[in-house]
């Protein structure tokens, strides 16, 4: 058993629902107890979908367990077919139904429905949401496209002269993090360089379109977590090349275009030249100097985390101080990237472990998920969400992709926003004691974004907002449930330095956004030097020692 407060991924059948809900003409019959229907609200409330997910649940109860739950399933399949008239049906079990071993797939097949029925085996006690989505998409693609596969030895015919190169965009799902806008952005980008987009799947695709996936010249894997398995099968079966660069950020989008040019037989440099985005100039403009070396901790699904790290270092000039992902299936990619950034990769789905790592790294900005937003809130650090799991706020009304040229603009704006202080940063540093700066006052444009502490949310007074800010200091963490950073973990852990009053006061003059780091560095310095009482001198010696980092 694993103690869980928050979970990064849902069970695998929720992944299957993300595929079914994304598509048209697909219906999913889920053998599941009463209550599992909660999953509908993920789509209707978080994503604000205007239709119920195409899912029928058997919703068996205890009294059914002694009886015939298999009959319940068959009835549900029959009724769902009659009522919804889908083109293809998915049939599977949730965690509880897996235990009663009714073999839903086999039962459904035995009904002899006049449509393809795809049985899903999604082991709920081993696997999770992303895997469930990937497996479901793969099974669907296989079931529908395989009948159109060429003989294995037959080479792929050449694209007729004069015909534009074509591709499929694979991976976007329902409830995906910015999938709607990413898909639109990449479609626009590809069409601008003369590549036809045949099918986008699963988002918006029909069963008929899945059957025709093999017709495009190549596949673009936008979200490997969902589409890598299906695209690999298509590559084997239809000999369709796959483009695997995820176009998040300027560099990656350029690489993506080069890869597309390679498989589409286009001239790469002209494609790249035609791409226009503001990020390079914004990042080079002098006001962005203050972004240099900002410490950023990155955690999310592997694809978004790895992509964000590249943008953070190479395009924003940040320092990556932590990099991790919750989906072990893609741990290799994260490890490789972490090595490049010189950090320890964090591969875990234990939220408490992530919190510990963030506390340890003391970043100035977290790029994470909704879970890290909670952690950031507690630690008084700014956070921008870059990856699923999603929240209703992650479905903005405005066009807001992460991918492609516009995605790069969005990344610049959203990541810089919490840090934006320009010259004010210096004024704050010089005149800390201005009563309106207030030692602990947040910049006015951020008040709404750090509603961490009730006192901040409803108060305007500097005193009222103090807890949210000082929470960045380990000793001030308000939540008793969170283990304090363990001094024993430090090299000379036997000494626990104390701050004298004067030093504590001086620390208070340091702008809040670096205060946590200053406290941590000073204490570490004191421990290393065997200093028991931290004075103002220790503070500045530590500053000199660490060079302000």
């Amino acid at each position: 058993m694993e103690l869980t407060i928050w979970t990064y991924e849902g069970p695998p059948h929720v992944g299957a629902m993300r595929i079914a809900t994304a598509m048209k003409g697909v219906h999913y019959v889920l053998h599941a107890p009463q209550g599992d229907t909660y999953a509908d609200l993920l789509f209707t409330m978080i994503e604000r979908r205007d239709h119920r997910p195409p899912v029928t649940y058997t919703t068996f109860q205890a009294q059914d367990l002694g009886g015939d739950t298999a009959e319940l399933l068959k009835t549900a399949v029959r009724e769902a077919h009659e009522r919804f008239k889908p083109d293809v049906m998915l049939v599977g079990a949730s965690c509880t139904a897996e235990l009663i071993q009714d073999n839903p797939g086999g039962l459904a097949e035995s009904l002899g429905l006049p449509i393809p029925v795809v049985p899903l085996e999604l082991p709920a006690y081993q696997r999770k949401e992303n895997w469930g989505a990937s497996e479901t998409f793969y099974q669907l693609v296989r079931a529908l496209a395989a009948p159109h596969a060429p003989p294995p030895a037959e080479p792929r015919p050449e694209r007729p002269a004069g015909q534009a190169p074509s591709c499929n965009l694979l991976g976007p799902t329902a409830l995906g993090f910015r999938h709607r806008d990413d898909t639109a952005e990449i479609r626009r980008l590809l069409e601008a360089v003369g590549v036809e987009v045949r099918v986008v799947a699963p988002l918006g695709a029909t069963a008929h379109e899945l059957a025709r996936l093999g017709e495009a010249d190549f596949n673009v894997v936008l979200y490997p977590e969902v589409a890598h398995a299906a695209a690999s099968w298509l590559k084997r079966t239809f000999k369709q090349p796959m483009v695997t660069t995820v176009p998040i950020g300027v560099g990656a989008t350029r690489d993506f275009l080069r890869e597309v040019a390679g498989v589409a037989g286009l001239e790469a440099d002209s494609l790249v030249e035609r791409m226009h985005t503001q990020l390079p100039w914004y990042s080079r403009s002098v006001d962005s100097n203050y972004l240099t070396g900002k410490r950023v901790f990155i955690f999310g699904d592997a694809t978004h985390a790895v992509a964000a790290a590249r943008v953070a270092r190479d395009e924003m000039g940040f320092e990556v101080v932590g990099l991790g992902a919750y989906n072990r299936e893609f741990a290799r990619e994260v490890r490789a990237a972490a090595k490049e950034y010189g950090v320890e990769p964090l591969i875990t789905d234990d939220y408490l472990e992530v919190e510990e790592a963030i506390r340890e790294a003391a970043p100035e900005l977290i790029l994470g998920t909704q879970m890290e937003r909670h952690i950031a809130k507690r630690l008084g650090i700014f956070c921008q969400v870059i990856s699923a799991p999603v929240h209703v706020q992650d479905f903005p009304a405005r066009y807001s992709p992460l991918m492609g040229p516009e995605g790069a603009n969005v990344l610049f704006d959203s990541w810089v926003h919490p840090l934006m202080m320009g010259l004010e940063e210096h004024l704050l540093g010089m005149f800390q004691e201005d009563f309106e700066f207030g030692n602990d006052t947040l910049p006015s444009h951020l008040r709404a974004e750090v509603p961490n502490d009730p006192a901040t949310a409803n108060g305007g007074s500097p005193a009222g907002s103090a807890p949210a800010i000082t929470a960045a200091e380990p000793g001030a963490s308000a939540d008793s449930a969170v283990p304090e950073s363990d001094p024993a973990a430090e090299p000379d852990g036997d000494i626990d330095p104390e701050w004298n009053a004067e030093a504590e006061k001086e620390l208070g003059k340091i702008p809040f956004f670096v205060r946590g780091k200053a406290r941590r560095n000073t204490e570490r310095f004191a421990r290393e030097q065997g200093v028991v009482e931290i004075s103002v001198d220790t503070l500045y010696e530590a500053k000199a020692h660490f060079g302000g980092r």
Binding site: M1, T7, H13, T59, Y125
Partner: protein, 477 residues
């Protein structure tokens, strides 16, 4: 309306028809009908139930009892449910968590207890302020027959009185949404101390008092004089305080509320304790309390001015306080309540309403909306109908609404679309899709999370139903 005529009268309280009947008839209406007290027929349905499981009760129980922690023994689905249903609303670390059963737990049941010990130890170390730990059973834990009652007993002994460890089921196969509170409270009943002067617990054999605890169950026996009043079912702290003040003025008391704000401070009970239901879903709790000698006061539920008055009158009568005195004491509050409700009458009067089943609160609310706001009741669905506890409400229900118990969601949606109600009360999974079809909806879950009881909240309760309609009028887009 195309309500079918009652055919085979169903014995009140009898089990739903077996699963086999659900697909026999093409029409959902032929599914099974019964009659309540020979009046309104009840459409009993089996099929897909679009409802929460009992685990979701933890969302309010963990805030109500601040010294309690709820540990679900379940799957990733359970954890995901809690996070999705509750996570969006939570601004502090929740006092609940999930011990997720993994493949290795299923493979070797032998170490399930060790695993549980490890998880509980880690939890109690992180949360030393916990006084009651609930091990909450889920669908998977029940299907694999994990004996949580026994585990709770063992852990309770090991905790040596520091922490009380209890267990209950919040599983979807056993409980629907608010029934999770019922099973939780039931698990606490054996630990409620006997009140001063009362014999030790279980002093009155169950047979002498009906399972509902009402006096009718034992005609001819003189009841014990009232010694205390127990209000059963979670209500907002502020509402408790309001009721406490009114009871005080009436000379009714001492009054205890169950669940209490601190789980370690369970109210004393015994013969002489009169019980007043504040929420309609505490049916098993009432039966368990009746076993301890408490007696139920038959009353409608305290929603709206009328319901609140009748609820208070019923309680006061036990203390020999007459209706006139209740009306006198509550005159100002009733007047305020009436004025507050009246403000929404123009919006709601003659508008039709359709309730999907959710929390068992549907019938009392339909009564309030029908009688105090003049709404037309089309269908009133409830996940479960306890005829005894709901008798007073059913008697007050105006018009001839279609009553339905259980659910076949697709057929119910067909009926709803055919009815084209002005307002639909439904769960979060249905609300936006129905809005997109042009219907106005009210989220049912809000009715469980908002202070809506009593005089001072009667206007707020009416406003919850008026708001979607007002908003629809307001928007020009």
């Amino acid at each position: 309306m195309n309500r079918s005529t009652p055919s085979t009268p169903t014995i009140p309280g009898c089990a739903s028809p077996p699963a086999g009947t659900r697909d026999g008839a093409g029409s959902g209406l032929a599914n099974g009908t019964g009659a309540t007290n020979g009046e309104l027929p009840v459409l009993k349905e089996r099929g897909q139930r679009e409802v929460f499981c009992g685990l979701t009760g933890i969302i309010w129980l963990h805030r109500k009892m601040q010294d309690a922690f709820f540990l679900i023994i379940g799957s990733r689905t359970c954890a995901h449910l809690m996070q999705s249903a509750a996570g969006v609303m939570i601004f502090a670390e929740p006092r609940f968590g999930t011990a997720i059963i993994e493949e290795k737990d299923l493979a070797g049941m032998a170490d399930a207890n060790e695993e549980l010990d490890r998880v509980v130890t880690r939890l109690l170390d992180r949360r030393p302020e916990i006084r009651t730990l609930f091990l909450v059973g889920s669908c998977p834990s029940e299907v694999i027959k994990l004996d949580l009652a026994r585990a709770a007993q063992r852990l309770d002994t090991e905790a040596g009185g520091e922490v009380r460890v209890l267990s209950y089921s919040g599983s979807g196969i056993e409980t629907t949404f608010t029934q999770g509170e019922d099973t939780c409270l039931t698990s606490m009943v054996p630990h409620m101390p006997p009140h001063a002067g009362a014999e030790p617990s279980a002093s009155r054999p169950g047979g002498t008092i009906g399972s509902t605890g009402t006096r009718e169950a034992e005609p001819g026996t003189a009841p014990a004089p009232p010694t205390s009043l127990l209000v059963v079912g979670t209500i907002a702290d502020v509402v408790e305080d309001q009721f406490q003040r009114i009871f005080g003025k009436l000379g009714v008391g001492p009054v205890h509320f169950f669940p209490p704000r601190r789980s370690a401070e369970l109210p004393p009970i015994g013969p002489g304790t009169r019980m007043l239901m504040a929420q309609p879903w505490v049916n098993d709790t009432m039966a368990a309390l009746a076993q301890r000698g408490c007696e139920r006061i038959d009353a409608p539920f305290p929603f709206g001015v009328e319901g609140t008055t009748e609820w208070l009158v019923a309680a006061a009568a036990e203390w020999g306080v007459g209706r006139e005195r209740v009306l006198e004491v509550t005159a100002a509050a009733r007047e305020r309540g009436r004025r507050a409700v009246a403000r929404h009458r123009a919006t709601l009067e003659d508008r039709s309403i359709f309730f999907f089943p959710d929390s068992q609160i549907e019938i009392p609310l339909a009564r309030f909306l029908g009688r105090e706001l003049g709404m037309r009741l089309l269908e009133v669905g409830t996940p479960f109908l306890h005829r005894g506890h709901m008798a007073r409400e059913l008697a007050l229900l105006p018009g001839t609404p279609r009553l339905s118990e259980g659910q076949h969601v697709d057929r119910q949606l067909d009926r709803c679309r055919a009815d084209q109600p002005d307002l639909v009360v439904c769960g979060l999974g249905l609300a936006n899709p129905l809005e997109a079809e042009g219907l106005s909806t009210k989220w049912a879950i809000e009715l469980v999370f908002t202070p809506i009881h009593g005089y001072e909240q009667a206007g707020d309760l009416a406003e919850l139903f008026a708001r979607p309609l007002v908003r629809r009028e307001l928007l020009e887009v």
